[in-house]
């Protein structure tokens, strides 16, 4: 009976496994994870070639049935399992890191609400076949200083503008216009989010802003929150700005990955695709930024923020907050008062 069951298992195991794999890959493809499905397909082809070649080599190379031959075969089998495991694990992390990392979203209700306000302007611009959109708050008439804001991972411009209006956070940006463009794949912006695409978008955003008649290009302040601090720091290293405000900043993208899945240490660091090397870019920033960091931040380790603060060549204004969790920087009076103070200080009259 046991032998019969074993035969049945052997007979149907392969078609069952293959059907499951086909179903999962097609499902991932349909569920807007095309790159992941295609990546897995390529991985399957690679593993198949490795496994079949290995089996052919073993069966032709080691023909004996002695104990030593069996032991060698056993070790080689373990080795090939390890190779399979390493390839499968590395490929999964590499392929899944983008899906795991970014949360592209759009808030249609807030978007509709924002249309009602006369001092809100919806912005669209195209460059190199890339389409971006976002919002501009016009606090001042004529040419005015501008804050270009880069939001957190789950933030879209429509919701940020709607929330700031409701909570009166705009009061702290007196004398400044405020612009937020959605990252690729977020809001109405097209594309796929990644560190490179976000950096490109940031450069385009700045270049677009300085061409506007209502923007005083000598008075541009960059502001970033969470993942956006990396984008703001990069832009600050590439363009002329008056100030830089970083809320919950990090030294490198690896810190963010580790806050989600704490495995990216040692050689596994090389599996991180979105490096967001803020420390590298901070070295080329020639102004003194304001850093708002919290010891209670559960996403960005405090040490990571401090490491970044120490990297700016002209020093930084570091403000440590107590008891503020990662998602509560906006709306916090202490944070916004510091932002307001810094904005008034750096304003070029």
């Amino acid at each position: 009976m046991g032998g019969k069951t074993g035969n049945v298992l052997k007979r149907y195991l392969l078609p069952t496994c293959l059907m499951c794999v086909i179903t999962l890959l097609i499902f991932l493809y349909l569920a807007e994870m095309e790159s992941l499905a295609l990546g897995f397909l390529l991985m399957a082809v690679l593993l198949f070639i490795i496994n079949v070649s290995f089996r052919l080599l073993v069966s032709k190379g080691i023909k004996g049935t002695s104990k030593i031959c069996k032991t060698i075969k056993g070790f080689l089998f373990l080795f090939i399992l390890l190779v399979n495991l390493t390839i499968a694990f590395s490929a999964t992390i590499l392929l899944f890191s983008n899906e795991m990392f970014f949360y592209p979203n759009h808030d249609r209700e807030s978007y509709e609400e924002n249309q009602k306000f006369i001092n809100y302007e919806e912005i669209h611009f195209n460059k190199d076949n890339k389409e971006f959109s976002g919002w501009l708050l016009k606090n001042e008439k004529g040419r005015a200083p501008l804050v270009i804001y880069f939001g957190g991972n789950g933030e879209c411009s429509a919701r940020r503008f709607h929330t700031n209006k409701k909570s009166n956070d705009w009061d702290y940006f007196e004398g400044y216009n405020f612009m937020m463009i959605d990252y690729p794949g977020y809001g109405n912006s097209k594309g796929t989010p990644s560190d490179e695409s976000m950096f490109d978008m940031a450069l385009m955003c700045y270049d677009y802003a300085i061409t506007r008649e209502d923007v005083n290009s000598d008075n541009i302040v960059l502001m970033g929150y969470s993942i956006g601090t990396g984008v703001a720091t990069y832009l600050a290293s590439q363009r002329n700005i008056r100030g830089l405000i970083l809320m919950a900043p990090y030294d490198e993208g690896i810190s963010l990955y580790n806050s989600m899945l704490n495995i990216f240490h040692g050689p596994l660091k090389y599996l991180v695709r979105n490096k967001f090397e803020s420390v590298k870019y901070a070295k080329s920033v020639d102004i003194q930024p304001l850093l708002l960091v919290s010891k209670a931040d559960e996403i960005i380790p405090y040490e990571s923020s401090i490491l970044l603060a120490d990297t700016f060549p002209n020093g930084s204004i570091l403000h440590s907050l107590n008891g503020i969790k990662h998602n509560f920087f906006w709306g916090n009076k202490e944070v916004l008062e510091n932002v307001n103070k810094y904005l008034q200080e750096v304003k070029y009259e």
Binding site: L14, V21, A31, A44, L47, N51
Partner: protein
């Protein structure tokens, strides 16, 4: 199919199947979708067993593969439909 190709295919499909399941586990919060590889495995196993018992199907060499692929693809579309419904009413 030679023994080498057969065994190579089994190991390959297992090492693609596990990460794909891992991704599925992290992508959805719905228990039936999260567990789908488990119940799909049992379902496909029984299906293959039943199909193999059908005399006409047994003799249709290439038909077997086509039917299996079509069933697998069909189930993927059903799962996607379920995902859309879950997202809509969440």
């Amino acid at each position: 199919m030679s023994k080498e190709i057969r065994k190579g295919l089994i190991i390959t499909s297992i090492f693609v199947f596990i990460p794909a399941w891992f991704v599925l586990l992290l992508s959805t919060t719905h228990i039936w979708l999260m567990l789908s590889p488990a119940w799909l495995g049992i379902l496909y196993f029984l299906l293959n067993f039943l199909l193999d018992k059908m005399t006409e199907y047994k003799n249709a060499k290439y038909m077997k593969y086509i039917v299996r692929i079509l069933i697998a693809a069909g189930v993927a579309f059903l799962l996607y439909g379920a995902l859309l419904i879950i997202r809509k009413y969440r």
